[in-house]
Symmetry: C2
DNA sequence: GCTTAGAGTTCACTAGTTGGACATAGACGG
DNA sequence: CCGTCTATGTCCAACTAGTGAACTCTAAGC
């Protein structure tokens, strides 16, 4: 069945080429498809017919302006994907279609200490509710992307260190959700998904090499290299939170001293303000106070920024990305934290690496991870879900918007 | 002419598939080619005939053992590639064929302060001499890989900071050599080429993600990610020498303080031994003395190792490679330096990242860079030199042994 | 209303892969 | 020593799929 060098494989590649072109552009006429893909008009004509028959694509008879151009676009209801994001304090679900449009999105608070069963129950309920709200049939689900706030082995789907999610010890979140929803579930950690989300929909659009730094209760980074999430052979790439900034600094939960995390993560930073600002402060609260002018909070945030900048400088020297996107609660602080980051990067990175680097706040806020989960589902579907007429009848390109 | 989705492109892909299979295996019968590539026997038959006619491949009429299997192998003289490596104190040239065999190799001392013209003259002479020694016709040269010991913009071929190679200011080494040899020249810096060399022929075989750390007069790293050299959008990835280990450490030539380089590079380390061991010490000398038991040299090398280990730990946390290969003069120290590196990595990297990391000495010694230059020439030839019957008549696969 | 130019379709042609038939040649057994 | 067997490589007819050219269609512009 698999004939890797045959004409049919060429045909499939051409189908994917067309779908990718349409997805990137939103909608195109056949002539435009022919120009952008380099295929001949005749071939495009055949391919579009085939895609139309399989329901992957919609042809709107008359378009704007011109002579008689029929515009081709991905049919929104050919299939949908679902993104699920478990955070430390929330659960978030989004539903999108193959055209990269978000149809519905909702979040609700969720206690970290909730048992995993309870978490999955809530997730399933929320998915069901949103599916009903959008009115799409459940059989249309083509895939699910799942985000968890901790180290996870993408291959096996098992959680790494379970110290972070105590209630989840021994569970396999992807398997769990697959069992409940009956569709393939792809899982990754929150930093990687944030990177993916910002890359497809947010501050990382058009960039092939970026680092997404998420500062929350921990500090993590999602790395995009050559347009793809890079996880490393062991799956633990991006652990920027545990690079050493000061060998004799505070002891970190990882067992070392002076990790970036001990200078930047909420659990180490908030206590600094306890005596002056009370004990029930959150990172969000600190950011809000800082924006309102509170000098102590401003100082703390600037210090955090400087330390993050040191870490980012090391990252730049090693990887030389063209963009760094800051996510997590801290990103809300805007220039209050970005300024010090840029300053530190300018000081500690070699000039040629820092020169063409831009440091931006994430454009998606807390939505980055769910949307990244959507993107994960879309991209993973890529080459596995073929258009074999059956099932969703959908045809997806590999790495949708990553070209 | 370029029809990205046509049958001819499929045909070309199949040609490359066959050549790649043959290259990886050394020699194969047609039936074996059919099995490994998944193509049908008939197609293989046609392709082999075509390749034989174009001179890319040789068919030895009778092979070992079996019925009547004719074994197919790359014809050694279908085309050759040349690697040229400029070091701080030497010039090295190697000649190889398309079958990944090194035909000749030679090095001679070269003063860094030599004018660039003199350097290129010497390189041209050495190439000519080796070509005569191997008896291969000059027209067979398919490509040249060139290594320079400093930052270079691979796209434009221009040298970056010329502080390191003062006599070379304003030259474009690739252009220069292209002019003299009349063939395409591809250039990269020494660390990247060392990584490539070790990956194809040395300690990095079979690994898709590795870092090659070269410690010489400076400290640099060549990163291999997903089987390809990663240079970063700005071309300066791998600058591990300038990650900050100690914010109040010694001032580095880059303008910062406490860079890894100030603890590990020859120019900063050798002075430590001046008062006790005299002034005309080289890194090689220190390594030799250390191996012979000199306690001062041992201590210095161990300290260097510990600092390198700190840098490598940061690199592991960020990139999580499966292997780190140590190159440069320092690698000769073997366990004297690798031990402390491993120890530091174990201490400063998070356990899950360090767990499946192996730290090995380079297997190629000072040859890593030239051989990497060969590999660069081979891989760059890949998709640009098509088999259009003309010229070398050669057909190369993209990224020869990197699959 | 006529012309025109770009859009999409049809058709004959061609490139290229495939399965099956066929020839070949060594190995094995009698 | 000879027939049989088996795997190899080649040839041929069938089939798949892309392409250029001719053709049709529509709306804009004069």
């Amino acid at each position: 069945m698999e004939t890797p060098g045959s004409q049919s494989s060429l045909h499939r590649a051409n189908l994917e080429r067309v779908v990718r072109a349409v997805r990137l552009a939103g909608s195109l006429t056949q002539a435009e498809i022919a120009r952008t893909t380099g295929l001949s008009a005749a071939t495009v004509s055949n391919i579009v017919r085939e895609l139309k028959d399989s329901g992957t694509v919609e042809v709107t008879p008359t378009s704007a302006g011109g002579r008689r151009a029929r515009s081709v676009s991905l049919s929104g209801d050919a299939g949908i994907v679902i993104g699920v994001d478990f955070g430390h304090t929330h659960l978030r679900v989004a539903i999108g279609n193959l055209a990269h449009q978000v149809l519905a999105e909702e979040s609700e608070p969720l206690d970290v200490d909730a048992s995993s069963t309870q978490g999955f129950d809530r997730a399933e309920q929320l998915v069901t509710r949103l599916m009903e709200a959008t009115g799409v049939d459940r059989s249309k689900i083509a895939g699910v992307g799942l985000g968890v706030p901790g180290p996870i082995d993408v291959e096996s789907g098992t959680l790494g260190s379970t110290a972070i999610l105590p209630g989840w010890t021994g569970t396999n979140p992807a398997e769990e959700l697959r069992g409940r929803l009956g569709v393939p579930v792809h899982v990754d950690n929150d930093a990687n998904l944030g990177a993916l989300g910002e890359m497809v929909w947010g501050s990382g659009r058009g960039v092939r090499d970026l680092a997404y730094i998420k500062v929350a209760s921990g500090v993590g980074a999602g790395l995009v290299i050559n347009g793809r999430i890079y996880r490393g052979p062991g799956g633990t790439a991006g652990e920027i939170g545990h690079i050493t900034l000061d060998e004799s600094g505070p002891v970190c939960r990882c067992g070392n001293r002076g990790c970036l995390e001990t200078f930047a993560a909420a659990r180490y930073v908030l206590p600094l303000l306890q005596s002056s600002h009370g004990t029930d402060l959150t990172m969000e609260g600190v950011v809000r106070l800082a924006r309102d002018g509170d000098p102590g909070c401003r100082r703390v945030i600037a210090d955090v920024g400087r330390h993050i900048g040191s870490g980012v400088a090391n990252l730049c020297n090693l990887l030389n990305p063209s963009r760094v996107v800051l996510g997590g609660d801290l990103a809300e602080a805007g220039e209050l934290v970005l300024g010090p980051i840029r300053e530190s990067v300018g000081r500690y990175a070699i000039p040629s690496a820092a020169r063409q680097l831009s440091v931006l706040p994430g454009a998606l806020g807390g939505r980055a991870e769910v949307l990244g989960a959507l993107a994960l589902a879309l991209s993973e579907m890529g080459d596995s879900t073929l258009l074999d007429g059956t099932a969703v009848g959908a045809l997806q390109t590999a790495t949708p918007a990553f070209t």
